[in-house]
Symmetry: C2
Subunit: 192 residues, 2 copies
DNA sequence: TTACCATGTCAACGATTGTTGATTTTTCAC
DNA sequence: GTGAAAAATCAACAATCGTTGACATGGTAA
């Protein structure tokens, strides 16, 4: 077959985009390099040439999707639950949707030996610590982790387990539930 | 090598036990039949003979681990949060530990195409519906799903993502957090 | 003992995977 | 236009996987 037009930057970007799309919908182990290459309209070997290995491609997908300032510092810790809840169900805002996809990528491939360590580090540095820095109190890290538990838990049920009651639920309702749970997670009060 | 003692029931059980142990600690795709057979001290081919295929072996692991009456009907829906919270951290009670392991198996392999459908069905029939049946109110299924979201979420963070603040946390503390979140999930009140 | 069937082992298949080296094609400077 | 380098393709590798059929071994009833 006749080779495609030559544009290193563009094909690299195409591979990266295809990889991201695949990793959003399937686990690290269940995504083949040939699928990614096929989506990008490129031969498999190019992935090795541009990214070295599958693991490094995955690393690059994570790195390309992250934004250091994703957590708007202007949001006080009081508005954080609503903010994180909207992050989970927002379809309009491209930024939030992209960030939610990034978390979904981590969730999907979390139990893969190859991708696991990369994910754990990215989760710690890019997600957990920024949230914890916004929280007052001593056990900020614990509550930050709990908040992410809420996010991952609902995403497991909705996206991976495809549990109908939570899938068919309208976005507003889901957002309400998540906000309530996030408030319980972030404010460590024991009013009970 | 000289064949082992011949005991069909025992070796079948040994394979099942080894498979369960492996599936608790690794994803469906990352567990090889040769590992399972090795743990059981058995040739790989025996797995095929006794269980047909890897997928059916996995199905059998799930089926063997389930208990129809795991949710004590005597527990009122008021005590349910504490009951489910203890399920997550209990190390003493063998029954609860076993059931928690079963949920962990589902969580670990949830994003595997082969095991996914089996898991979704087992989760619906054996976990979600029993909980929902115990809950009063109209949206019992939704709140049941939310409760399981809490369980899966914290387990993702603690076991799969290995997030330190939640791992090093003492069991009592984790149980307290989970109970608080489960109460928020199960009682759908909007007191805010 | 001897025949027989259940039980267990061995070896290999076909398919798929990530990866690599050689080859071809395009692009661009001279 | 020509040559060299970048870009892309092709072909094949080695490893692993689940699976299967042929073969060997054990227990057991006649």
């Amino acid at each position: 077959m006749s080779p495609r037009v030559k544009n290193a930057a563009a094909t690299r970007e195409a591979i990266l985009a295809s990889a991201r799309s695949r990793f959003i919908e399937e686990s690290y182990d269940n995504v083949g390099l040939r699928e990614i290459a096929g989506d990008a309209g490129v031969d498999v070997a190019l992935i090795g040439r541009y990214f070295g290995s599958k693991e490094e491609l995955f690393k690059e997908v994570l790195r390309a999707g992250k934004k250091p300032d994703w957590l708007d510092p202007s949001v006080g810790h009081r508005e954080l639950p609503a903010y994180l809840a909207s992050l989970a169900v927002e379809e309009d805002c491209a930024d939030r949707k992209k960030h939610a996809e990034g978390l979904l990528i981590m969730l999907r491939s979390a139990s893969s030996p190859k991708a696991g360590e990369v994910i754990r580090q990215a989760l710690r540095e890019d997600v957990l610590e920024p949230i914890a820095k916004l929280l007052p109190g001593a056990d900020a890290e614990v509550r930050s982790s709990l908040a992410l538990s809420i996010f991952f838990g609902t995403n497991v049920m909705r996206t991976i387990m495809a549990v109908e009651p939570l899938c068919q639920c309208d976005s507003g309702s889901v957002r309400g539930h998540m906000q309530r749970l996030l408030e319980a997670a972030l404010t460590g009060d024991r009013t009970a």
